[in-house]
């Protein structure tokens, strides 16, 4: 039920004109997400929390990650961690001993079963590749490799520090170490990309990849170098119609090759889904560790019953100071009310092809069933009639076509959810106020 996400944010370390990165993410069930906040260089499309560190402070960073992991696990009173995810940043820049130390801390606080999924994000550089074996020894049993593209020119535009050949070698090495537990991240909608070249790239990847693939459409984020280049007309990205076609084409191709889509951007064969990520979409609790990490968990230690959204301090230096002073670097704590929790469950759950089943919804909303919430709305009815949304005995989910348009449907669903919950609250309030002469006629 709980995911620990230990999170390292990235720090880019400039030394001798070279960028050095270290990054971690950790996840559990409660998952934890560990973030390593360092990168060697800034990717042109990335607006992630990442830093260029001034000193060699890996050791201190490790200590702090351990400390925060310990503190937050204690606060959550978690007994069993089911997955850990080292992300970031570029966690493969961290020393394997850091990963080992953090995992040791996790085991010290809660039971970390043999079967727990421990994923590490890897940059497919020769350095990253050379450490894979040590990471495995440290306890990592799943690799997620940021291939992004197999075109060297594109890798340059994206500001990546590896070549396609290095990527292929890294996949091979990772598969050797963790067969069936290697994921490949690829990006589409890249500058100058065509549907045809995307198809070719996909076939090439399918020949070398393992059982898991994540396909992300390149998102132009404000403040990134790529955003500026596109704004300034130096670089053009494919039109929306083209990227939509790339997405559909990839879905078809992967399907033909036995990859089942289980989420908007995630595909797996032989049931090799990422359990850690599934727990996000299923609305489970998780702990985020590291600069800028997010968590969602109940704090029974403080008498809490409601789930809290916790955000850790962003800047690594400040975060480290805070961890040293008070054991954790939580910058913000917000109690999620019932509606907010259901909103997250809905928004995250609908990203899965299986959607939200009745039983799952009932866990969070015992009073109002999916049908009670969405069955009456005319907006939702229209979505159902259009065939993009399905509400049946299994639950609520998107159709194949609907999944690509999820963000156009969510506002209507959220409006309806809010209306039903607030009506429900008013009704309860109203009946509470009356003497209980008769049972509620509802």
């Amino acid at each position: 039920m709980f995911t620990l996400t230990l999170k390292f944010s990235r720090v880019v370390n400039k030394r001798n004109g070279k960028w050095k990165i270290v990054q971690i993410l950790v996840g559990s069930s409660p998952s934890s997400f560990l973030q390593w906040p360092y990168c060697l260089r800034r990717c042109s499309y990335c607006n992630f929390n990442k830093y260029i560190s001034r000193d060699n402070n890996d050791h201190m960073m490790t200590e702090c990650l351990q400390k925060e992991t310990e503190t937050l696990l204690q606060l959550s009173q978690v007994s069993c961690v089911t997955s850990v995810f080292f992300g970031g940043g570029t966690p493969s820049l961290a020393h394997p001993s850091t990963v080992a130390a953090v995992l040791e801390t996790v085991s010290g606080q809660a039971s970390l079963s043999e079967k727990a999924e421990v994923t590490l994000e890897v940059n497919p550089t020769p350095v990253g590749m050379s450490k894979l074996e040590d990471f495995c020894r440290a306890g990592v049993n799943r690799f997620s490799i940021g291939v992004q593209s197999l075109q060297d020119d594109d890798l340059k535009i994206l500001g990546r520090d590896h070549s396609s050949r290095q990527a292929l070698q890294t996949i091979e090495e990772a598969r050797r170490l963790c067969p069936g537990r290697v994921s490949v991240d690829v990006m589409f909608g890249r500058p100058k990309q065509s549907v045809e070249s995307w198809e070719n790239e996909l076939s090439k990847l399918l020949r070398v990849c393992d059982d898991h693939m994540s396909l992300y459409q390149l998102t132009l984020e404000r403040g990134t170098q790529l955003f500026k280049q596109v704004q300034g007309g130096e670089v053009t990205v494919p039109a929306e119609d083209v990227t939509a076609e790339m997405y559909q084409c990839a879905r078809r191709t992967l399907h033909q090759h036995g990859f089942l889509q289980y989420e908007v951007s995630n595909f797996a064969k032989h049931k090799a889904v990422s359990h850690h990520n599934m727990s996000y979409w299923k609305g489970r609790q998780y702990i985020g560790v590291g600069p800028g990490a997010h968590g969602r968990f109940v704090l029974p230690g403080e008498g809490g019953v409601a789930r809290e959204a916790r955000t850790q301090t962003l800047e690594p230096d400040v975060w480290m100071r805070e961890v040293q002073q008070r054991g954790h670097g939580t910058r913000r704590r917000i109690q999620l009310n019932h509606l907010e929790l259901l909103e997250e469950v809905l928004v995250m759950g609908m990203r899965m092809t299986e959607g939200i089943n009745h039983k799952h919804w009932e866990l969070f909303s015992p009073q109002l069933s999916l049908r009670e919430v969405f069955g009456r709305s005319t907006d939702v009815q229209e979505l159902l009639q259009s065939g993009r949304l399905i509400l049946d005995d299994r639950g609520l989910r998107c159709s194949w076509d609907g999944l690509a348009l999820l963000d156009s449907m969510l506002p209507a669903l959220l409006v309806e959810l809010e209306r039903q919950i607030s009506q429900r609250l008013q009704r309860d309030h109203h009946t509470d106020g009356q003497t209980k002469k008769t049972s509620n006629p509802r």
């Binding site: 995911t3 990490a293 997010h294 995250m348 259009s386 506002p411």
Partner: protein
């Protein structure tokens, strides 16, 4: 639009006027001539009282003012008229300084322009009055200067001011020469039969060419060049001559102190403490503090609390006498009680009312809505306050399904509308959505039933949604204006094609000198209200000037154009257009809508249609993919915020069929384009 224009219409058919403008002969130029003011022919010309006066020792000795010592023949009432920026307000500053009304300092810049918008734009919006004491050949004179707005949109103010005057100073820039508003203002004064003193200003400029301007004046206005006074208001050069000319050439008002008291209300302001402050011109008799006076319009009686001169600040004198111009406070609590054009008389001595003015007719209408409905009350009170001092703005409550509750305001013209908006924003800090301006169309009804319903055969349509169907109408009418364009002749070709594009008919063309051309065109008002002036300015590199006066209504082939979203009409976007312009304006609206309606899950057809015939179409393509690529634990807060915002926005969307249209889309289509 104004008293004089309306009157002019009744007297002269349009065409004759248009063709005649060159042949106007100045009948009353000789200031020695005794002349009769046709406007005030009810007034008998009586011999001027010639008692001896004790001269006021110092001009600045305000407290010593004894107005009884200024009989009508020592009074001159005049105003200054000019094209924008020709130096009207600067000359007023100099006149005020030279007569001691204000101290002479560097800071005197457009003293009479009190409003922020006036100072910023260098225009006068609201007429101001200042009484000056001037010593000429041993005699003390009381000169009443009424500073008038220069723009045609405010010609209502101009003609009101003119009605209280006997003469005008017509200022022309020595560099720019005669401009469109110079011509328009000249005719206002000319037809009111005022003495006109041409003043050529800015002779200190490097490119000044007063000789050329003099010959223009001779050619266009038929005023001998010798009568022009060359000055530099900025430097004060020759301004003394202007004052002398005012005394010498402008006749004194024809008013007798022996008549019963009779005064014309030619302007009013509202003061929160004292109520209405009315500007009056005394046409006969005398009035003093404590007198009980009656408004001829309402028949209500008031007691005079305070009265005096404007120098230009209020200067209480306790009395006002025939021929004088000043202010009066008489306990009027509502600005509507001081009807402009009203006649005031003493309770015990009723007189026949002066003919007054026809109310200004709004010619440009625009919807005004608060940015957010919660600001409705605030905006309402701001509009109310502003209209207190600008009675020419008409206000009608209106509401739009998309923009909520608001108003449809009528203005005298475009500049008037812009100035109103600017004052609303600057003086009342109100943010408003202003829709694109429209003009009042008319329909002549053919159905007896409808005629009975409306109580008249001819109805005015201000709101396009109320446009009556062709089948019940014998003809539609649209408002016309007579436009005057002055420009260097090298731009003639471009200007002519622009005018033709705007359905204009050329009425006249005249070289006012060897390089500058004056053209007169009859325009449908609708064709000039939106962007005509901007285009004219840009195609002539800023050299052309434009002005217009109302020219009645003409039959026009008007049609109602609907805008459809997936086949459903959108009520707030109904537009009345001329058949010839339907395609281009329909296309433009479709394009603007296409750009402002967000893509949805289905395709949206944006169409302009006349009846059942679609004349323009744009398509908003359906979303093929709209889903965030990466969504894990880390960034969910941001994602949730965005979705919640969209969900909130969805509640506020206007639903046309199943198409969700955000308020912004309506604003983008309806509002005026920013320059």
């Amino acid at each position: 639009m104004s008293f004089s224009l309306v009157k002019r219409w009744c007297e002269t058919p349009l065409l004759r006027r248009v063709l005649q403008f060159k042949t106007y002969r100045r009948k009353i130029l000789n200031y020695n001539m005794t002349y009769t003011l046709l406007r005030h022919r009810w007034m008998k010309r009586l011999p001027v009282l010639s008692s001896s006066f004790k001269m006021i020792s110092t001009q600045t000795d305000k407290d010593a003012v004894d107005l009884s010592k200024f009989p009508a023949d020592r009074i001159r009432n005049f105003c200054i008229i000019a094209h924008i920026d020709h130096g009207k307000s600067t000359l007023a500053d100099r006149l005020l300084e030279m007569t001691g009304a204000i101290a002479k300092t560097e800071k005197n810049k457009q003293v009479l322009d009190k409003l922020q918008v006036e100072r910023e734009r260098g225009i006068t919006v609201k007429a101001q009055t200042a009484s000056l004491f001037y010593n000429h050949e041993g005699q003390q004179y009381l000169l009443n200067l009424i500073d008038t707005p220069g723009h045609v949109d405010f010609s209502y103010e101009v003609s009101r001011s003119i009605s209280a005057c006997q003469g005008v100073l017509l200022i022309v820039d020595a560099n720019q020469g005669i401009q469109a508003q110079t011509v328009a203002n000249f005719y206002l004064a000319f037809e009111a039969q005022l003495a006109i003193i041409p003043v050529i200003n800015k002779i200190d400029l490097k490119n000044a060419d007063p000789e050329r301007v003099e010959s223009q004046i001779e050619k266009v206005f038929d005023i001998p060049r010798e009568e022009c006074i060359r000055i530099s208001a900025k430097l004060g050069t020759n301004v003394e001559n202007v004052l002398q000319a005012v005394v010498d050439r402008i006749p004194p008002p024809e008013a007798s102190i022996d008549d019963p008291f009779k005064a014309l209300v030619f302007d009013s302001n509202f003061d929160h403490y004292r109520g209405v402050v009315a500007n009056i011109a005394v046409f006969g008799g005398r009035v003093k503090k404590g007198d009980r006076i009656v408004s001829a319009y309402l028949g209500k009686t008031y007691e005079v609390n305070e009265l005096g001169l404007l120098r230009p600040d209020e200067h209480s004198t306790g009395k006002l006498f025939a021929g004088q111009v000043g202010y009066i406070v008489a306990g009027m609590k509502d600005v509507k009680e001081a009807q402009i054009g009203d006649t005031l008389y003493l309770q015990e001595q009723p007189v026949e009312a002066l003919p007054g003015f026809k109310p200004a007719k709004a010619m440009v209408f625009a919807g005004m809505y608060p940015m957010d409905q919660s600001e409705y009350q605030g905006l309402r009170s701001a509009i109310e306050k502003l209209t207190l001092n600008d009675s020419s703005v008409t206000v009608q409550r209106d509401s739009s399904l998309a923009l909520g509750a608001g108003w449809r305001l009528g203005f005298l013209g475009l500049l008037h509308m812009e100035v109103f908006n600017q004052r609303l924003e600057q003086e009342y800090n109100a943010s408003v959505i202003v829709t694109a301006p429209t003009v009042p169309y008319k329909a002549v009804l053919s159905s007896a039933k409808l005629i009975k319903e409306h109580g008249s055969k001819e109805i005015t349509i201000v709101n396009p949604a109320q446009f009556p169907d062709r089948t019940v109408v014998s003809e539609y009418l649209e408002p016309m204006v007579l436009g005057t364009i002055l420009a260097p002749d090298s731009y003639t070709g471009k200007i002519m094609s622009l005018c033709l594009n705007r359905r204009a008919v050329q009425k006249n063309m005249l070289y006012i000198d060897d390089q500058r051309v004056m053209m007169k065109y009859l325009f449908p008002l609708n064709e000039v209200v939106v962007d005509f002036y901007d285009l004219l300015k840009s195609l002539s590199s800023g050299y052309a000037s434009f002005d217009y006066e109302n020219a009645g209504y003409q039959a026009a082939d008007l049609i109602k154009m609907d805008i459809l979203l997936n086949g459903r009409p959108v009520e707030e976007l109904i537009t009345i257009v001329h058949r010839d312009r339907a395609y281009s304006s329909g296309k433009a609206m479709c394009e603007r809508l296409k750009d402002s309606i967000p893509r949805q899950m289905f395709e949206i057809a944006v169409q302009a249609a006349i009846g059942s015939k679609v004349i323009a179409r744009e398509t908003i393509k359906a979303y093929k993919k709209n889903v965030l690529a990466k969504c894990y634990g880390g960034d969910i807060t941001r994602k949730m915020k965005l979705l919640k915002k969209q969900a909130e926005g969805k509640k506020k969307m206007r639903l046309i069929g199943s198409v969700e249209v955000p308020k912004d889309a309506f604003i983008n289509v309806l509002k005026r384009k920013q320059k």
